[in-house]
Amino acid sequence: MNAELILFIVFALLALFASVMMVTRKNPVLSAVFLILNFFALAGLYLLLNAQFIAVVQIIVYAGAIMVLFLFVLMLLNQRSEEKILNGKKNLKIFAIIVSALVVFQLAYIIFYSKPSAGLAPELQKSVQAGTVEQIGHQLYTNYVLPFEAAGFLLLAATVGALILAKKKFE
């Protein structure tokens, strides 16, 4: 056992645990808390993958901004907890579990059938290089300038749309 594998197992279990807890909590605020925990575990996994920039952006954007908005809306609407998550519609529950099991089965089949690690010769140096902010910045401002400006426009459109929707009164 080496430190990296142990860290991977810890973060992976944490991520899975948090996501299962998120889906099964009755109180939506607690769901949000577990989703935040999940994002942290994911950030840890990204660090293990040498993707430093993405790891930090995951925390700043997902955990630090998007989830704040979710929490604010949850507190604003102040929904009472769902009384019955699992014992409500039995058929739906069985259906959901079958569907997700099928998805997992299919993905696992594809992953193991195609043997992705067979053709890979990962180099640590290259992978560390790929994750640095410098590298991402260079790529962003040489090949991806248009998407970058388009992202700016998308955010502008989202602001305008969200503000209009949030303040709109349907009579």
């Binding site: 901004a65 604010f72 902010v133 700016g152």
Partner: protein, 137 residues
């Protein structure tokens, strides 16, 4: 390997900090007395019994602030890689950044114009002597 150990150091630092905080909270749990009564465990509301649900509804403006924050926070993060490689790109980098900042400024101007940055101001109405007197009559 070098980078990993730097992040490893940060990880150890956070871990030690967490252990310290946990010890402090557990120590308090062990040392302090614990004699709860119903009155003690009531929510504080100036000595009265609490009225209604504690989770009151608040102003939608808080949501609007969080929304604007989200948008601008993402834009800050988009700007960091630009700031880092800016010196190597010359005038092209400058133009890219300025266009992005102008788009950002447009959003800002929209919110400003539509009054989404305004917060409710208090409008105190000071009592006027004439009105008070006329009411008395």
């Amino acid at each position: 390997m070098l980078m990993l150990t730097e992040f490893g150091k940060v990880f150890i630092f956070i871990l030690l900090g967490a252990i310290f905080v946990t010890i402090a909270i557990i120590a308090a749990k062990l040392v302090s007395p614990n004699r709860p009564t119903h009155e003690k465990l009531l929510t504080y509301e100036c000595g009265e019994n609490p009225v209604g649900s504690p989770w009151v509804k608040f102003n939608i403006r808080f949501y609007v602030v969080a929304l604007i924050f989200l948008i601008f926070d993402v834009e800050v993060v988009l700007l960091f890689p630009w700031a880092l490689v800016y010196k190597g790109f010359g005038i092209f980098g400058f133009l890219t950044g300025i266009i992005f900042l102008v788009i950002l400024g447009l959003g800002m101007a929209y919110e400003w114009r539509k009054g989404d940055l305004e917060w409710a101001r208090p409008h105190p109405i000071p009592p006027e002597l004439d009105k008070v007197l006329s009411k008395k009559e």
